[in-house]
C-alpha cells in the first residue's frame, strides 16, 4: 500500500470523528482526502475545521481514497460499511458495531466477501496498562479469579441538560440504546478479553435520572461457564469516580483506576494496584504504568493502530467475531432488563 494512505472520514455524527481527523492530519502515514456526511452542514463545518474538503458525492470520495473512518450514527454503520467495502476501501469503525445482530451480520458478511481490512476501535485493547493487567491475571499472581467488577461511564448527557434529548445518542432508533451500548460496550469488550464469552446474564437499566428514551444507567451481571461472575456498572451521569476495574482472585486483588471519563481527572497514580495475599506484608503494590487514557493523544491510538495494520499487515486490534461478541453481550443484557429474565447467551456460531 502506498504511503501516505488516502484517508476520508464518513460522518461527523460521533464526536470521536474530531479526534480521528486530527490523528490523520498529524500522521505521516496518511493524508486527509476529505469528509462526507449525510448532514451537509455538519460535514461542511467539519471540513472547514480540519481544512479539508467536503464531498457531497460519497461514491466519488470512496473512489478517491484507500481507507475511511466511519463515525456515523450507529444505525447507519452497516450501510456505510457496505458502501465502503464494495468500493474496496478499508474501514475503521466507531463502536458500538451496530444496533442489532442483523446489522452486525451484514457487516461481517460484506467484510468477508470483499476482503477489505476492518477494525472496530476498542481503545482499551491497545492500552499497555491492560496488557499488564491481563498478564497479572494470566500469570496467576492473584490466584483463580472469582469476580470482576467494571464501572465505566461519563457525564456527557448530564452536562447537556435539556439538550440531551435532542442529540442522536438519545434516540434509540439511531443509537440502539443508551449508556449500556455506548459506554458499557467498552466494559463488555474488556471482560471478553479477560474472561472470554459468558454463559448467562441478568441486568437492570434505568432512564429516570435523565428522563430520556434510552437508558442513562445500567447494571449487568454475567456468569461464566466456570462459575465466575462479572459486573458492569455504567451511566451517563457519573460526575466523579476513581476505581474502574476490580478483579478479585482467590489469592489477591487487582484495581485499575482512571480509565473512564468519570475518573479521568480524579484518579491518582498508581493507576494499577494489586494486592497479593502471599506478599501481605508489602500491602498494595503499584505499577508505574500510566494508562493511555490519561494521555492527551489517547484518541490518536485507534487511527494510528489501524494505519499500521494497513501498512504492515499486522492484525486489527479486535477481530470481527470479537466485535460481534461484545455487542451480543450488551444486547443480551438489554433483553434481560426488558424481560426481567435471565438470558442464556448462545455460543457464538460462525456465519
Amino acid at each position: 500500500m502506498n504511503i501516505p494512505l488516502r484517508f476520508a472520514i464518513l460522518s461527523f455524527a460521533h464526536f470521536h470523528a474530531n479526534f480521528w481527523a486530527q490523528a490523520i492530519l498529524d500522521s505521516p502515514m496518511a493524508e486527509m482526502i476529505g469528509i462526507w456526511d449525510d448532514d451537509p452542514v455538519r460535514g461542511q463545518v467539519a471540513a472547514a475545521r480540519f481544512n479539508t474538503s467536503y464531498w457531497e458525492d460519497l461514491d466519488a470520495l470512496l473512489a478517491s481514497c484507500d481507507a475511511v473512518g466511519i463515525t456515523s450514527e450507529t444505525v447507519k454503520h452497516a450501510d456505510l460499511v457496505e458502501r465502503a467495502a464494495h468500493a474496496g476501501v478499508h474501514i475503521l469503525l466507531e463502536k458500538p458495531l451496530a444496533t442489532n445482530l442483523e446489522e452486525a451480520d451484514r457487516i461481517s458478511r460484506v467484510v468477508q466477501e470483499t476482503g477489505v481490512t476492518f477494525m472496530q476501535n476498542f481503545p482499551k485493547r491497545y492500552d499497555p496498562v491492560n496488557d499488564e493487567l491481563v498478564q497479572l491475571v494470566k500469570s496467576g499472581e492473584i490466584g483463580e479469579i472469582v469476580m470482576v467488577r467494571v464501572r465505566h461511564g461519563n457525564h456527557h448527557l448530564l452536562d447537556l441538560g435539556d439538550q440531551a434529548s435532542q442529540i442522536w445518542y438519545s434516540q434509540p432508533q439511531l443509537s440502539g440504546g443508551g449508556a449500556l451500548i455506548d459506554e458499557g460496550i467498552h466494559a463488555a469488550d474488556f471482560l471478553l478479553r479477560l474472561l472470554g464469552y459468558p454463559q448467562s446474564v441478568i441486568a437492570m437499566t434505568s432512564n429516570t435520572a435523565l428522563g430520556l428514551p434510552v437508558d442513562d444507567s445500567a447494571m449487568v451481571i454475567y456468569k461464566y461457564a466456570d462459575g465466575k461472575l462479572a459486573e458492569i456498572a455504567t451511566s451517563n451521569t457519573f460526575v466523579g469516580a476513581d476505581e474502574s476495574v476490580q478483579i478479585f482472585g482467590k489469592r489477591g486483588t487487582i484495581i485499575l483506576s482512571g480509565v473512564d471519563m468519570a475518573s479521568k481527572e480524579l484518579a491518582q497514580p498508581p493507576f494499577l494496584r494489586f494486592f497479593q495475599q502471599d506478599e501481605a506484608s508489602r500491602g498494595w503494590q503499584g505499577s508505574s504504568l500510566i494508562p493511555e487514557f490519561q494521555k492527551p493523544e489517547f484518541h490518536h491510538g485507534g487511527p494510528n493502530y489501524f494505519l499500521e495494520c494497513l501498512l504492515t499487515g499486522k492484525p486489527p486490534i479486535a477481530t470481527l467475531d470479537e466485535s460481534r461478541m461484545s455487542l451480543t453481550m450488551v444486547l443480551a443484557a438489554y433483553r434481560a432488563a426488558e424481560t426481567g429474565q435471565i438470558q442464556y447467551i448462545k455460543p457464538f456460531s460462525s456465519h
Binding site: Q44, R49, N51, Q163, S165, L212, P213
Partner: protein, 344 residues
Amino acid sequence: MIGDRTRIGIIGAGFISDYHIQGLQAAGGEIVIISSITEESALTKAKPYEIANATGDYREVLDRQDIDAVLILTPDFTHRDLAIQAAQAGKAIYLQKPMARNSTECREIIAAARQAGVPLYVSFMHRYFEEVERTQELLNENFLGRIFSVRQRNATAGAKWASWFYKKENVGGGVVMQLGVHGIDLLRFLFGDIVAVRATLAQTKHEVVLADGSVVKPDNEDLALITYRFADGMIGNHEAIYNEVAGTDRFRMEIYGEKGSAWLRTERGRLAIYAPQYLGHSGWFTPDLTSQDSGLRQHNHFLQMLSGEVPSDRSAQDGLISILVTEAIYRSADSGSWVEVEQP
C-alpha cells in the same frame, strides 16, 4: 390517540396559524377542527388545508372527545382563560408565545395544567431555526471558548393585520412582550439564565395605519434597549423594535467569545463563524444552511413530546420565566436601575 396519528384541534386562525398548520401537517399531525372568531373566517382557513371541521365557537374544539391536544393561537389576552379551559377539558396544550400577559396568568395556566395532569408547551419558534440549532451544537463543543457578550436585535415593521398588538391591556405591555420575548427566550435557550436587567423603553409612534386603512393609536412602547446579566457573568444587549422598515430579518445575533465570534442572520448570511482555533484557520466560515422547515422541526418535536418519544422540554416553565424577565424589564425602565429577575 386514535389510530397512529395525533389528533389536534386549533383555536385561532390568524396570521401565525399558517406557520403552525403547515408545520403540524408536515410533521404528520392530523388537524381535526379549527375555530376562529367567526365561522366564516374559520372556514376560509380550513379549506386550503383540508381541515374537516370549522367553527366560530372555540368550545366546540374543547368539547370534542376525539382530539388529543389543542393549539392556542389567539391574542395574548385570551391565553389564560383558553388554556385553563383546555386543561379542564383534559387536552394537551400548545400555547403560542408570549405565554400570557403577566406572571400571575402564567402561573394560573401552569397550575391548571398540573391539576388536570395535561402536558403544557409554549411555542418559541426561534429555537427551531437551523442557524440557532447549529449554533447550539457548536456552543456545546465550546467552539468560541468562554462567551463574553452577545448582541441581539428583534425588529419588525410592526403587525399591520390587527389592532390588538398596540394596546397595553391586550399584551401586558408592548414590543417587549410581543416581539422581545422571542429574543429573551432565545438568549436563555443558548446562554442560560438571566439574573438581572437594565432597560430603556420608548414609544416613538403615536399612530399606526393598518393594512385595511384603519388607524390605531398605540398606548404601549415600540422600542426597547435592554442589557442583561447572565448567571455565568456574561453580558448581553437586546434591542426590540417595531418601527424598522428594513435591515433585520426577525432577529440578528452577534456572539463574542474568547476564541472567536459567531453571527446569526447578518449581512454575512444565516450563520457566520470566525473561530481560528476551532476551525484551524482564520477567515469567516459560512456553512450552506438551506433548511427552511423550522415549523416542521418544531411540530415534530411537539408530537414526539406528546407521544413520550422525547422528554418534555420545560417550555412552559421557560414561558413563565421569559415573562418574569419582561416584568423585570418594565420595573427597570420605571426605576432607571438594575433589577433582578424574580425566581419562578
